[in-house]
Symmetry: C2
């Protein structure tokens, strides 16, 4: 049995609590002889700042590069609102994405049947929803230069951010979307603002070319990002795979996640290019929810998104799709049995803590 190296980066807020439940699952997989994971742990975000005055240390970056997959909790919180921009908690996550070249962010937005009523949307709009947002993650306005604030004198400052996209960056994220669509409903919707942004013009052009050249069996549709956002709110089931840039992906995937009513349940995967020789790819898995500092340390956090992110790691990094299916089934079974953490509690269900939820899922497995 192959040994897989994992780096666990719990981060801030509820990160450590939900990571604890993944750790429990890993320990069990190891001791039951189902898999062999070697785990190491590091600091990222505010907790790294508190320890070393950086958002992630060079040592932990080296471990992340060396690992077969990084399992990431969440970063940030009001405690670090005043730290310098360069070492703010989010910088650690952005550096991991950039330095590991994790250009493809997959964010499924799935409505768990047991939770359909938790959505602010009507049941028929949301029931059975199962879409994936493929977000470009290492380009665009997140990383483009110049990115500066300049003092112009006279009390005036000028802030600049730069959105940059090259053809190859759009091509490779397009391919990820089309490949994924082939395993799903064979439909990709590309979203940009070509009516206002030159990057939108190029995005549209390159997606169209990749489609024509390599994926004519898949249906490609184009939507302006603003009307795409509207369509997502009105009738999300019209989509299957949505591909979009870093900033629109940030907005649209959060909105899609909130639509499901299952924010505490949604995982994500950030993937690099497949290495030609080793056939491996760098990868980071993280829940869509944030660090929720207001409920941290109280045993209230929902560990399902974190456990499900580890499920994505099994599927995408370790070719253990069967085991991933079992994890998903265990989560569904526990929900069907009526156990709920505070965020998804409703009448007639049983309230459980972070740990109890993790234990129940493990027992089900």
């Amino acid at each position: 049995m192959a040994t897989h190296k994992l780096l666990l980066l719990p981060g801030d807020g509820i990160g450590p609590e939900v990571m604890g439940e993944v750790k429990r699952l890993i320990d069990w997989l190891n001791s039951a002889g189902i898999a062999r994971f070697e785990t190491d742990t590091g600091l990222v975000g505010g907790s790294a700042y508190d320890a070393h005055k950086v958002s992630i240390s060079e040592g932990d970056m080296a471990k992340a590069k060396d690992a077969d997959a990084v399992i990431f909790g969440a970063v940030g919180g009001p405690k670090w609102d005043a730290v310098p921009y360069e070492v703010r908690p989010e910088a650690g996550l952005l550096r991991l994405r950039k330095d590991l070249a994790l250009f493809a962010n997959l964010r499924p937005a799935v409505c768990y049947p047991a939770l359909a009523d938790a959505s602010s949307l009507k049941r028929d709009a949301i029931e059975g929803l199962d879409i994936v947002i493929v977000r470009e993650l290492t380009g665009g306005v997140y990383f483009g230069e110049p990115k500066t604030i300049t003092d112009l004198g006279n009390g005036q400052k000028r802030a600049i951010d730069t959105q940059v996209y090259d053809t190859y960056e759009i091509e490779r994220i397009g391919r990820v979307a089309f490949e994924l669509a082939r395993k799903r409903k064979n439909k990709v919707t590309s979203m940009e603002k070509r009516n206002v942004m030159k990057s939108g013009v190029l995005w549209n052009e390159v997606m169209t070319q990749v489609h024509k050249r390599e994926y004519l069996d898949v249906t490609l549709e184009h939507q302006l990002a603003d009307s795409g956002g509207m369509m997502l709110v009105k009738w999300p089931k019209q989509f299957d795979v949505i591909v979009t840039d870093n900033l629109f992906g940030d907005m649209l995937s959060d909105i899609a996640a909130m639509l499901t009513g299952s924010l505490g349940m949604l995982p994500s995967a950030s993937l690099g290019e497949v290495d030609v020789k080793s056939k491996k790819r760098k990868a980071l898995y993280e829940p869509v929810h944030g660090s929720a500092p207001d409920i941290a340390g109280k045993g209230l956090a929902n560990p399902i998104a974190m456990i499900s992110s580890f499920g994505m790691a099994l599927r995408y990094s370790f070719d253990m799709g069967d085991l991933a299916d079992k994890v998903d089934a265990a989560i569904a079974a526990v929900l069907a049995s009526g156990l709920r953490t505070a965020d998804i509690k409703s009448e007639g269900t049983t309230a459980v803590s972070t740990t109890q939820m993790g234990e129940a899922i493990l027992k089900e497995l």
Copy 2:
């Protein structure tokens, strides 16, 4: 009685049809001696391109600068998908915004009680919703330079868009939001991505300063634009006035509009600075919905957003708040009587055409 000069720019798609109903209203106001409007008409968008190969002619730009207010329909459609970027339909609208210096875009998102069920959101999440998005409209990534596509050779191109904000631009849009809040619920929520964008850092800093210096009686809250979008979908009533930049405003205001289920009903105002001498300000009024080419020319379009935009002109440009209230009341009465255009038709209501809806509102007045 003062004479007010209006420039009507119907534009493309359903633009001319819905503008026809505003024209009907203006003619009646004139002939009944309630107001004195002098109207002129121009071309913008695809219709200007078809006539003159530009998105708006210099002659019409001059008329727009000379008018007391511009009443704008909608632009764009697949017919012009292949025209050069510089003369695409949207360029006409963007030039009007920029050259008239219409930096403040007010987009109310109101749920008409009679239409609460048209929303994809549950009734309790949306009933009684009444918020305003204040969007910065002449800065940011819409107009920043460089904005280019460069050929790098080897089949590679590079697209660049630039987000630029200066202190004064953030200050003045902040003031618009705070002033508006004083007439409403005294609360402003500012949205940006300070954790990723330098423009977000400056935006946050300047909003905080303007608040401290001039508006301590108003509550100011800050939200990251992505979580703000989520909160909007989850429980929009937690907001009152939202202030945000050009691109986030584009996304968030469309989403807010769709939440209400009343997209065909929502007006917007784009305002310039008040001139110190004349006390006048340049202004453009337009519906939030687009040109809807698929239903153009069929008498199916809902003219309410357009009529209601003209109502905003009465209020903000001509100090006729009472008349504007009457227009709003007439719209509400017609809806309560059960008349509906196709977009908002539901069981037990009466289907009417664009013209019939316009006539009914006029009769009510």
